[in-house]
Amino acid sequence: MKKLINNPEHVVEDMLAGMVAAHPEYLRKLDAGNILVRKNAPIKGKVALVSGGGSGHEPSHAGYLGKGMLDGAVAGAVFTSPTPDQVYEAIKAVDSGEGVLLVIKNYTGDVMNFDMAKEMAEMEEIKVESVIVNDDVAVENSTYTAGRRGIAGTVFVHKIAGAKAEKGASLEEVKAVAEKVIDNVRSMGMALSSCIVPAAGKANFSLGEDEVEIGMGIHGEPGTHRETIKTADEITEHLVNRILEDMKPEEGSEVAVMVNGLSGTPLMELYIVNKKVNEILTSKGIKVYKTFVGEFMTSLEMAGCSVSILKLDDELKELLDAPADTPALKLL
């Protein structure tokens, strides 16, 4: 494997040190572990948001530390959920007394580890609520799933719930708006290549020269099926139609769109995907209120993308538009 790293065992530590050096005005690292927090946390009078998960999805989640988004981000080993003691340290460090909302992506490990941290914090009388993001529609909703996965739609939760918290809302209100985002966002992804976890040294799987994997998650785990690569329009149509089948937005709805690169796909291609996303939505009478194209939740060096569509109402629009100032997302 050819990677720009030092010791594979130290990728997370090295990365976090580099991030803090790059963004000292936004974030600082806790001594307790691989945890970054907003520079001046805890912020008095504000509910704090803590998220995290396995590393390898940068800028998720430490890239979103700052005004209007997250207060704490816990970095597990690559593609591995962090341990409860680490999440607990983050909770302690950012709680101002108004309580903490945990934004958890729906993976068995993340859910269990964050839950255990919540139990630990509650034993110390810290108010903690949690929400689980499960925006990925790729996995069929049947008895044969552990539920849907959480992917790039999580960033919408960070933005909107973060904005609500910044306004001084209560923990219950911040949680409610986070749940509203989760109820209204759907995503689906695909991959053109696999990726290599540094400690493993080789890819989990390989895709043929002209093969793609549809329904790919963000950990290199296999998706729903493989097929021969088609045009961007055809692939995008498949992803968007699956999302719309699940979401069923009415004509006249307003939505936010996120075309998220997994990191190995050029911005040029993400914009090509967005062209089709926008055409499909417009042809169905759905108004695209705001679009985000870029890398929001990646998967090491994997090539591919995910599309997320969030159905908006007035409250969500207002919070989506609210200012945010973080290393990875800045909205004036």
């Binding site: 597990g76 080993a77 593609f79 591995t80 959920s81 962090p82 341990t83 409860p84 003691d85 993976y107 068995t108 490990g109 269990m112 580890n113 839950d115 255990m116 790729a138 996995v139 069929e140 008895t143 044969y144 799933t145 552990a146 996965r149 976890v197 400690a199 493993a200 989990n204 799987f205 998650g217 950990h219 290199g220 785990e221 296999p222 998706g223 729903t224």
Partner: protein, 208 residues
């Protein structure tokens, strides 16, 4: 069978060795139907257990298991950390304060561990998880003890039941954990969690 704290620590160290020797295999199993890190994470966790136990030779067995559980929770990560961690911590409560344990105590340990895993993971048998190795092992162990078999025979039957459980996981589709995203495609692959559970029981059998 009468095992003291020192022997329990020896067994845990041996488990750490066995898992470390099998970590590539476990990760390969995990790569086929998951994200490929089970072996690496378990080995890291058990290494931390070994370190923690080094300074705790004189402790009673309940404390030893509790220390093991907490070290696993803090060092394995992923889904295996909370599951194995909770398993050991609940098991610790079954033998709280005991300086020596017999086969009946081991049955209680396994029973509480399994209950902990089901509670934490919200799982049950037939979903292609570690429960599919541990539940048959517990059932067979209980029966063997009732029949009055020797401790060694009881453990042999239990670990064989776990091994059969691992084989069984090959035949079913995953409905829990990361493998469940594969649905029908997970058939034909043995579950990594069931496999590591079997290796643990097999090591215990070999050491006693």
């Amino acid at each position: 069978m009468s095992i003291n704290g020192k022997k329990v620590i020896e067994i845990l160290n041996k488990i750490a060795d066995v898992i470390d020797n099998n970590k590539a295999f476990l990760s390969e199993l995990d790569a086929a139907i998951g994200d490929g890190d089970h072996g690496i994470n378990m080995s890291k966790g058990l290494f931390a257990v070994r370190e923690k136990l080094r300074d705790n030779e004189g402790k009673n067995i309940g404390d030893i298991l509790k220390i093991t559980g907490m070290a696993l929770v803090s060092n394995v990560g992923g889904a295996s950390g909370p599951l194995y961690g909770t398993a050991f911590m609940k098991a610790a409560m079954a033998v709280n304060g005991k300086e020596e344990i017999d086969i009946k105590d081991f049955k209680n340990i396994l029973e509480e561990a399994l209950k902990g895993i089901k509670m934490r993971g919200k799982g049950q048998a037939g979903e292609k998880t570690m429960i599919d190795a541990l539940e048959p092992a517990l059932n067979v162990l209980s029966k063997a003890i009732e029949e009055g078999l020797s401790s060694k025979e009881c453990l042999y039957k239990a670990k064989e039941a776990a091994r059969e459980g691992v084989e069984y996981t090959k035949t079913i589709a995953a409905t829990k954990g990361r493998a469940s995203y594969l649905g029908e495609r997970s058939i034909g692959h043995q579950d990594p969690g069931a496999t590591s559970s079997y290796l643990i029981l097999d090591t215990i059998y070999k050491e006693i």
